[in-house]
Amino acid sequence: MTDLLEIEHATKRFATPEGHHITALDDVSLSVGENEFLTLLGPSGCGKTTLLRAISGFEDLDSGMIRIDGNDVSEWPAHQRPVNTVFQKYALFPHLSVARNVAYSLEIARTPKQEIQTRVGEMLELVGLDGFGGRKITQLSGGQQQRVALARSLIARPKILLLDEPLSALDKNLRHKMQQELKSLQDEIGISFVFVTHDQEEALTMSDRIAVLAHGKIQQLGSPEDLYRRPSSIFVAEFLGGNNMFDGHVATCDAHDARLDLTLGQSVAVPKRNLTEGQAIKLLIRPEDVIINAPNVSGGLTFTGTVSETYFVGTDYQLVVNIPNADPMRVTTRIGFAQAPTIGADITLTVPTDAIHVIADKAA
């Protein structure tokens, strides 16, 4: 195996003070390759932080195995594992200067003074904190502290860098900037990142692959495009951005296509994949895939309705369109100022066939 990090059947239960048991990790298996950016995405309490802490060695698994670079590290204490963590609140040592914070792991490893100095200098330069070595931690802004934490974790040249929601304490603009910096830094130094976040946008922006977690289980693991375009469950679809969903069932199937009947009355043909006749399904349509007032319609789905709300969000308009007998449909569209839809206007919504995604409705 060439995978850097392999997790097999990781299971972890916690006892709550009330005597209940919470399953934080339920038979989780995944692997991270060399130079890969993997994101663990999920709502709070989904087990993503527990998984990260299990990798870094702060949480013991009830069962399962963690291998780093081919070695079973399940029994290794945290300080021996070849991974480093960027903590959510940075956990910088307040009694040490910036340089001493960054140098910490090298000092522990008794690296020669000369080398420490050189490497700390390089590291501070890499994260853009040249000349900040003598500062106190308390004299730094949130973004600068973030960079110190990053430098401190990277200086020991870990095989894998673990990041526990490191950007959640930053304001929005800084967060976007740091997202891009983190990604390019990862490309530059070429190590694997395991990144924990509950922010789906952040996950989509930065990751090579995303593992969506809920209730201690991996719901779906795949590339950002995969997850966004082809979610395997309603949960994943809803967690990754806005959605329009329509109930229906598979009416007929032939060799290549399946004809779906919507409860609203429309029907549409889609590639068959693994659909079977009579199966209950949900249709997923992303708001930005809807075309409004298309001149010539062929294939796909068409809805008519009235605009009930409009929001201008800078680049786009977001519309809420009331459709008879269905939930209001959300539409994101980039139209010129002059064509801005007005509330109350009748509108035709068209969805091309390739923008329709079918999810097997397990609930039904």
Binding site: S56, G57, F58, P77, A78, H79, Q80, V83, N84, T85, F87, K89, A91, L92, F93, P94, H95, L96, S97, A99, R100, Y104, S105, E107, I108, A109, G133, G134, K136, R152, S153, A156
Partner: protein, 302 residues
């Protein structure tokens, strides 16, 4: 009359009004008696107590080495007592630290409710008179006391241990008395310690011992030093504990001062001894402040 019209002026006036009474109170009841003691320490004792208004540095001479050659030879006994006091107070600091440091960690990790109960228990001894509590220790430590009966009863010792009226009894007593003083500042700094720092240290490769030395100890050092000072100062001048638990055998500087003022009626000498205690404490404090500011400077210089 001056009328305050801006908000800042009104605030100034209010502060002035609030701060004046305590300032006057402190000036009268702290600075003035201290001044009296300083002046007395340079006077000659009266025959039946009180002072004779003649300048004399012999009170300090008796302690430090230039005794009045007419009456006596220099005897280092007072320096010896001073050193004994420093030693006993120092050991008290160490033993309270030894007990309170782990206890502070233990209590700071409890849930709110338990924490409050334990913090209350720590301060509980304050509700009973000090003398009563110390006599309870006499009952525990004396040869026929609880401790010795328990030890002989269990067959751990053959003859009762001679604990009471020794240095050990004084240290036990002072440790008992000063535990709350050590605990509270220690607890304050331990409570503030961020657990994620300990994890970060382990994450960066440090063993538990290295983490303790490099992170936990420096982060809680202000509490350790603060608690040590708060215990050391009253322990150094303490006279109740040594007089009850040390009997006639253990003489601390506090007892000596008490004797000079009450039995020997040598106020100037007592005052001089008091000044010596104060001087050494001041010296320690100045050293501590210097140490702290130097640490700040090195942190910035690095």
């Amino acid at each position: 009359m001056w009328k305050p019209n801006s908000l800042a002026q009104r605030r100034k006036l209010m502060l002035f009004g609030l701060l004046t009474p305590p300032t006057i109170f402190l000036a009268i009841f702290f600075i003035v008696p201290l001044g009296i003691m300083i002046v007395y320490s340079f006077l000659e004792p009266g025959l039946y107590g009180g002072v004779v208004w003649t300048f004399s540095d012999l009170n300090y001479g008796r302690i430090l080495g230039w005794a009045d050659s007419k009456y006596e030879k220099f005897d280092p006994v007072y320096l010896g007592i001073m050193l004994t006091s420093v030693r006993l107070a120092g050991l008290t600091v160490l033993s309270t630290l030894f007990i309170c440091y782990p206890a502070a960690f233990w209590i700071s990790r409890m849930n709110e409710e338990k924490k409050n109960i334990f913090l209350f228990l720590i301060t509980l001894p304050f509700f009973v008179s000090l003398v009563v509590r110390l006599f309870a220790w006499v009952l525990i430590l004396r040869p026929t006391g609880f401790l010795n009966q328990a030890l002989t009863g269990m067959g751990l010792v053959n003859a009762p241990l001679e604990i009471i009226y020794t240095d050990l009894a004084v240290i036990i007593g002072m440790t008992y008395v000063f535990i709350p003083f050590m605990f509270l500042p220690l607890y304050a700094s331990v409570e503030k310690l961020d657990m994620s720092l300990i994890e970060a240290s382990a994450d960066l490769g440090a063993t538990k011992l290295q983490t303790f030395r490099r992170v936990i100890l420096p982060a809680t050092l202000p509490g350790i030093v603060g608690g040590s000072i708060i215990v050391f100062i009253p322990a150094l001048g303490n006279f109740i504990v040594p007089s009850i638990l040390g009997g006639a055998k253990v003489l601390m500087i506090g007892n000596l001062i008490e004797q000079q003022f009450l039995s020997a009626r040598n106020w100037p000498f007592g005052a001089a001894l008091g000044m010596m205690v104060m001087g050494s404490v001041l010296f320690l404090l100045i050293y501590y402040v210097k140490l702290l500011s130097r640490e700040d400077q090195t942190a910035e210089a690095n």
